[in-house]
Amino acid sequence: MPLSTLSLSVKIPLRVALLVVVTTGAVTLTLLAREYGELRRNLAAGTASLGQLLATTLIQPLTHDDLWRAFEIVRAPLARGVADAGMAPAFITVLGPDRRVYVSTDPVRHPYGARAEPLFPAEVLGGNGRAQGFAGAEFVETADDQLLTAAPVIADGVVLGTLVLGYSRAQFLPRYFDLLRRAGLGALAVLAVLVPLSWLYARRTAAPLVRFADEMDDFSRDHAHAPHAPAALGDEFARLAQAYRRMVSAIGEKERLEREVVAADRLASIGRLAAGVAHEINNPLGGMLNALNTYKRHGKGDPIALRTASLLERGLLQIKDTVSALLVEAKAANHPVTREDIEDAKTLALADERSRGIRLDWRNDLDRAIPLPSTLVRQILLNLLLNAEHAAAQGGSVGCRVQRVNGSLRIRVHNDGDSIPDARLPFLFEPFAAEEGEARGLGLWVTYQIVQQLNGSIDVRSVPGNTEFDVCLPIPQPS
């Protein structure tokens, strides 16, 4: 499992614990470095005082040429017991004024009379000429991991020899390891207390967030109707973000559905009202037209009355047309739609297409008959094409695509004219919704009614330069 998907209830304690470990480590290292510096300073101080003592004590044996006494003096600091108490040198060697070994606690490596030059680096022997003694003496590190320091043995201004104190790096290791061990144990003890405490604290800090994320997750899933959505990946922050997005999209979807329902309800009410009014008008209208017919046939032939009757008849017929248009009814007896039906609609609708220089992008993908009423489908297509042609700019284009998609007949018609204002979109399919100066405005109403009766859907998308109507009609399955 990648780290990023871990829960915060693990991640926050982990981070806090890591911080504690790093801090403790840094503090330990700092203390260790200080201790190490202290160790070196102690060594320098100890060496200086030891060297001073030895240099003073060696004056007599050196002036008396008492080799054994000189050996006993330099051997004393290395004796067992003394050596354990402090950091005794690994060896002490006394060089004579002739720069040859006079005596050494390590007579095998530094035998009597051996020349000092190959045994010690020149900077160590440089101490031979200095008068300040061990107080200012520096340590010189040799290639074989030894720390050397040296100072002259001076009596009455005469240099009797050089005292060389040698330490081996290895002899400090146990001390340093002991230091390391104690520091390490201290750090572990601190960690043993701090890590569980900080872990506990961090867990408590993370707990409300974890709970909140769980609740948000559950809530957003329930309300997005996705109870079986895959569990969110990532920590609680990622889950919260996903839940939030899910909720936002759910709310958006809900609002869209509500708008659609409201629009559909309104259209349905209008449809019912229109149908009711149409029926109420149609009955007296039929009677009035019959009466006029009768009058025209059997009247006295008064020319004025006849002209008036004719005027009345034209007016009543116009009302009848309008009412019929409002009263959209699917007529059952219809043959299925064929490719030719679609092509007929093209021919009918685009009669004056060329005169206005409108380009037509036509695509008819039907290859066999579809069991949908051809008259209604043709009317839908005709209405949409006429609208598109009307809306298209001078020299613009109109596109149409008819195809069979997943058990539906899909008709898409678009044009490149001005887009439909947002304010009009909600009322687009209502009768007489057209603005001043436009056509009567029943085309889309009729289209909508037909689509509804065929259990289909109609959508419109309008952006500047492209307005598209998308009709989807389910093809009835033969029972």
């Binding site: 006993e72 051997r75 007579p107 035998p111």
Partner: protein
Amino acid sequence: MRLGLTAVMLDDQVAFLQQWRAYLEAKLGRRVEFVQRGRYRETIELLQSGHLDAAWICGFPYVRYRSELQLVAVPVFRGKPLYQSYLIVPSQDHSTRSILDLRGRMFAFSDPDSNSGFLYPTFQLHKAGERGETFFSRAFFTWAHRKVVEAVAVRLAHGGAVDGYVWETLRLASPELTQRTRVADRSPEFGHPPIAARASLAPADARALRIVLTGMSADADGRALLARLNLDGFTPGGDELFASIDRMRLEVFQG
């Protein structure tokens, strides 16, 4: 009675010396005081000047200052009033068989007034026509037999001359020290370093001391003390024990 001690014995056993002093005081019926000095020469000078009544000295100064001294007793070591001078080398050295194998090396003598630690090895070199100052790269004195053993053990010296009695006693007390050395050569037997009184000491006092010392092996307390000294007892002895030392002395220093 003031008794001088030298490094012919292991003179660093303070508790033992107190017990021995108490024993001698009880037997002699008088106060006894041990006087320790680091070098033979100092002890002998104290004896000569009358500051000491008697002292445990080496056979070499005994024969040298014979006229100023009277013999009190000679220790008996391994049944005889005799001892040897040992030539010791570091235990790593497996080849040295004689002091003459150590030309150009470092050599540790114990004391210039010691027979085993100086006179005998010098005599050997003398016989070979050599002198210590030139034969060795460096020779030095440690002023005590025990320290000769230490010098050789830490390989400060490649060889050393040591009192065989001291080395053998040390082998019992500090085997870890003697183990680091190897006895490369042993001298003929010489008279054991004697206890001598100044010539001016009343013969009765000298005799009393002799009787107490030679009687130590007769009682339990005395035997316990002798065991600490790694000795069998004391015997009156005689000058003939030290004749060979005197001959070497004459040959080396007056020949």
